[in-house]
Symmetry: C2
Subunit: 367 residues, 2 copies
């Protein structure tokens, strides 16, 4: 699975694997893809440095990348406390009522919330970058619009390619104008923040809109047949996130959540604002139902919702309260039915890709 | 573009074209695909016979098919008037208020509503079948679940293959159990009634669920690259509907609607219950906005909504009231940017398919 872009990056397969787990990222790179570590959960720069050291030591010299969540627009002098103050009391009460209804215990004294999306705050993301750009990254991706111009310049000085996620051709064109190198076209069926346009329609639109920039297709891709489909649509590679969540190398810290992922069908996700305030695809749970219920107060805009629910999500995860327990994941969750190692996922991907190409050759009447 | 199914049907390309226009259906069959006439708008059996005669005379002896909307469950002794009586007065008033706000004129005296979805009523669909099964149909498709067992048997007696649309693997399995021959897997991005699962995820799920029955992929397919993607996912053919709406052979009776379709982007559709009471993808208009507005009464369930809005939609179309003017269409509308003849669409499809296969061969390192 070799494209112009995979050759440029020196990887064997044009498969880009996004994951919050260093062990998965390193395994993806070892298997011949490009492991991309999600940075959003790292609030302490030291933690990120520790995990990048680990990847560096375990990637067998193969390239890897980092994914940050950095807003292009800077909001001067606004800290977490200022934002917290904007959260209405009724919403806080709704969180407590929902947790109480499901008997979710408080965190023990001294136990801190593990789940905290503060990486979207520019000062946090910049701290991550200061750490990360000391490592030999092959790719820096931004999940929230184009990165600021100075960040793109710093990456380019170090020969780091810059990618940005887009859910429409218009967004993709803005990224291209900002000077990025790769667009990740994120379809409706993808896990996490998504737009309304499905991968089948979005990929060729974005490819045409930003040509000759390379495009990675994201959303609905978990098999080699799906990778072949995405490459047929003009992508120069595929961007997979969900499929790694149930690999042996992943560490969800929750057997109950792993069980839910393995049992879920493709219809068991929902695009909801319950987690961050922006529409993000995730497992449908009693938690997303509560926020999507017209009788409730409804989610706050980003970034308020993420701050509002951070402690609650930590408590739900810590105590594995099954009806509320969820995670961002794409519709491909329906095909994640058994735990595999990362290398096994790659073997399945390449075999499925070969099968699909041979099938198309037959349909086209090629020898 | 030859699959086992296309060979069985004796067509040159595994392209199935759904259209309400006899001239488009015949042109699709002449171009080497299978033209499938949508029957839902025919209330008088004589009109359907006239148009099937026309197709028979203009298809150059190539095979063609018919698409009906027939409920599997029979509701005994319920006529249109009984159903009309269930519509609340407040909803009728909302229709009139919405039309008045946009200055939509009444139909002239003696002018009858042209738009009327009554084909979903079993007695109407059975009348269509009595007419249609006298013609040498190659395919009978049902857009609303599995057809009743006796209809499948009548079709099979005449060597007519029976297809049914499905938006999930579960629905597809029910169709297979009912004895149909082909499943049309209709993805989220498709025009008309759709589920939530995107084509990229749905196609392989349905293919695996009903194997060895052949599957046609529908939703998001308008180019040869998209056809190649769908076939890579395991489909034995592609089912296209939206793309024909702006062909030279189509007759929308509304230059304004054609202009709207040619101008619309992939983000300009919405999955709304405004037209039939079931979620159907269509152009987003002031009409869909009014029904999707939480402040309004909201759509009634099928079949009430279709009856409620029939006259209103006819008036909107008759007078081309642009803000309200819409039609079912998929996200692929963003790529329908110029009028082409049906043969030209086929030429583009086959060229794009060849390009995509050659591209995948290169990526796979094949000679």
């Amino acid at each position: 699975m070799q494209t112009e872009l995979s050759r440029r990056l020196g990887i064997e397969h044009a498969v880009f694997g996004f994951t919050p787990f260093p062990a998965v990222a390193a395994a993806i790179s070892r298997a011949g893809g490009l492991g991309v570590l999600g940075a959003v959960r790292y609030t302490a720069p030291g933690d990120l440095a520790r995990d990048l050291d680990w990847i560096q030591d375990h990637a067998d010299g193969r390239p890897y990348g980092l994914d940050v969540v950095m807003p292009a627009k800077k909001v001067e002098g606004v800290g977490e406390a200022d934002v917290e103050a904007l959260i209405p009391e009724g919403h806080r009460q709704f969180v407590e009522d929902t947790l109480a209804r499901h008997g979710v215990p408080e965190l023990a004294e001294g136990e801190t919330a593990g789940w905290r999306i503060t990486g979207w705050m520019e000062q946090v993301a910049r701290g991550q970058l200061d750490v990360a750009l000391d490592y030999p990254l092959a790719l820096l991706a931004n999940a929230l619009g184009s990165p600021p111009a100075d960040v793109i310049a710093r990456a380019h000085e170090r020969d780091v390619l810059v990618a940005a996620l887009a859910g429409s051709a218009r967004h993709a064109r803005k990224h291209a104008d900002a000077g990025i190198d790769i667009v990740v076209a994120q379809g409706y069926e993808a896990g996490g923040h998504t737009g309304e346009i499905a991968t089948m329609v979005l990929t060729p639109e974005v490819t045409e809109a930003v040509a000759p920039l390379p495009v990675l297709a994201a959303g609905g891709i978990g098999s080699g047949e799906q990778a072949a489909a995405a490459l047929a649509l003009g992508a120069q590679g595929v961007w997979l996130g969900s499929v790694w969540l149930t690999t042996a190398e992943a560490d969800l810290h929750s057997p109950a959540l792993t069980r839910k992922l393995l049992a879920a069908g493709s219809g068991d996700t929902v695009r909801s604002r319950a987690l961050t305030g922006k529409p993000a695809r995730q497992l449908r749970t009693a938690w997303t139902d509560a926020w999507d219920d017209p009788a409730g107060p409804g989610p706050l805009p980003m970034p308020l919702q993420g701050l509002l629910v951070a402690d609650a999500v930590s408590r739900i995860q810590r105590y594995e309260v099954e009806p509320l327990l969820g995670t961002p994941v794409g519709q491909i969750v329906g095909r994640m039915t058994s735990e595999r190692g990362v290398q096994e996922v790659f073997d399945d991907l390449t075999r499925g890709f070969e099968r699909a190409v041979a099938r198309l050759d037959r349909i086209a009447g090629r020898p």
